[in-house]
Subunit: 203 residues, 2 copies
DNA sequence: GGCTGTTTGTGCAGTGGCTGCAAGTTTGCA
DNA sequence: TGCAAACTTGCAGCCACTGCACAAACAGCC
């Protein structure tokens, strides 16, 4: 089971090649000005193959991480059961940030594309309704509640929203070392939420 | 200025006719099985005209309310400045519910379409990013904060999320008078949020 | 009632995302 | 080596959506 097999290796490579092609082309010419044909051609495969790997042109740029759901579930079930859900989510997100540092360069390009297309981020989060569902399920399990209970659902929705806001705020001032890091934005948003969104004092 | 003019009247009528056609056809044959041609034909206009009224096939079904943003802004600016934002939003949503009761029949059909296509609801809420922006702006004004401050943005995102969850929960048990009304779900979700999502006791 | 400028409706041709199908090609396995 | 399963590819096609050029309807004015 340790061996991966030639077939799987090729498959993974084709996928990452397509992602790179998509992100590069989008940053070079603008996402709207490239076609799926362009992406496939640069990746050296047929257009039809492109759609065997991605259901959508957007997916090729965003490259949704299929393992994310498992990591989420694992983190939630292994964290202290009486920990506040927002705190559990916060620590999970901080863990993930170190992962992002890996493909640093690819991520910067990807983010520049997203910055030009804010709707894409939104769509990513909501067709990522699957992820939200995973969150709700995991918290429901931990709390001994039914999966469709209002509490875990609200919690899950709030968490994804929170992360989205933090990302949006962070994207406004990218790369500048004097501005807050993404982790700082996450902390700020989650702190607001744990305090029930109590308004700050007037300036 | 009181008179509406024949031109405007016709325009409004064409729009509502298209909406009715879209919703009816979608409920009859399923949203995926109808084309924009079908909708236009039933409405008695050309396909090209359809796209003069709606940017998207989805829009014809959802019929986004262009006046909503103004009502939101008005409600927020006229409500007590020291009122908790979540409470302000809660009362606003309750006001809107009475409006929905007007086109009751159309709304039921629309909801049945949405129930078959949960993604549509999500997309509606996030291409309704415009609405979220309005929310953030209005709260920022009221609090004397800059429009891009994290607090109003988090608040706005949380409110739209909350409403989305309430709607989703409500859609699961529609029309049954023994189950909670939409307003009850809204209350429940907002209560959870004002308490910082404190987990309920284990059952 | 006519005249003129501005909207609104429509046909047409075209782009491009996305899919099903029926091959061909490659890999896994015995 | 030979067979089955998985992967790739070309092709034909659907359909949402757009730009453009022109016809039709309307508003305001004389």
């Amino acid at each position: 089971m340790g061996t991966e097999g030639l077939r799987d290796r090729k498959k993974r490579q084709t996928r990452t090649t397509l992602v790179r092609a998509a992100v590069e082309l989008a940053t070079e010419h603008g996402y709207d000005n490239i076609t799926t044909d362009d992406i496939a051609t640069r990746a050296g495969v047929s257009t039809r193959t492109f759609f065997n790997y991605f259901a959508t042109k957007e997916d090729a740029v965003l490259n949704p991480d299929p393992g994310a759901d498992d990591r989420i579930r694992a983190h939630i079930t292994t964290s202290p059961p009486d920990q506040h859900p927002l705190e559990t989510a916060r620590t999970f997100l901080h863990n993930e940030l170190t992962t992002i540092d890996h493909d640093h360069k690819l991520w910067l390009a990807r983010l520049s594309v997203i910055r030009e297309h804010p709707d894409m981020l939104n769509r990513a989060f909501l067709s990522g309704a699957a992820t939200e569902h995973t969150l709700a399920e995991a918290f429901a399990d931990r709390l001994g509640l039914p999966a469709d209970h209002t509490y875990p659902r609200t919690t899950a929705a709030t968490i994804t929203s929170a992360f989205r806001v933090a990302l949006t705020q962070w994207l406004r001032t990218p790369g500048d070392p004097t501005t807050p890091a993404l982790g700082d934005h996450i902390n700020e948003v989650f702190t607001l939420l744990t305090h029930g969104l109590t308004p700050p004092a007037r300036p």
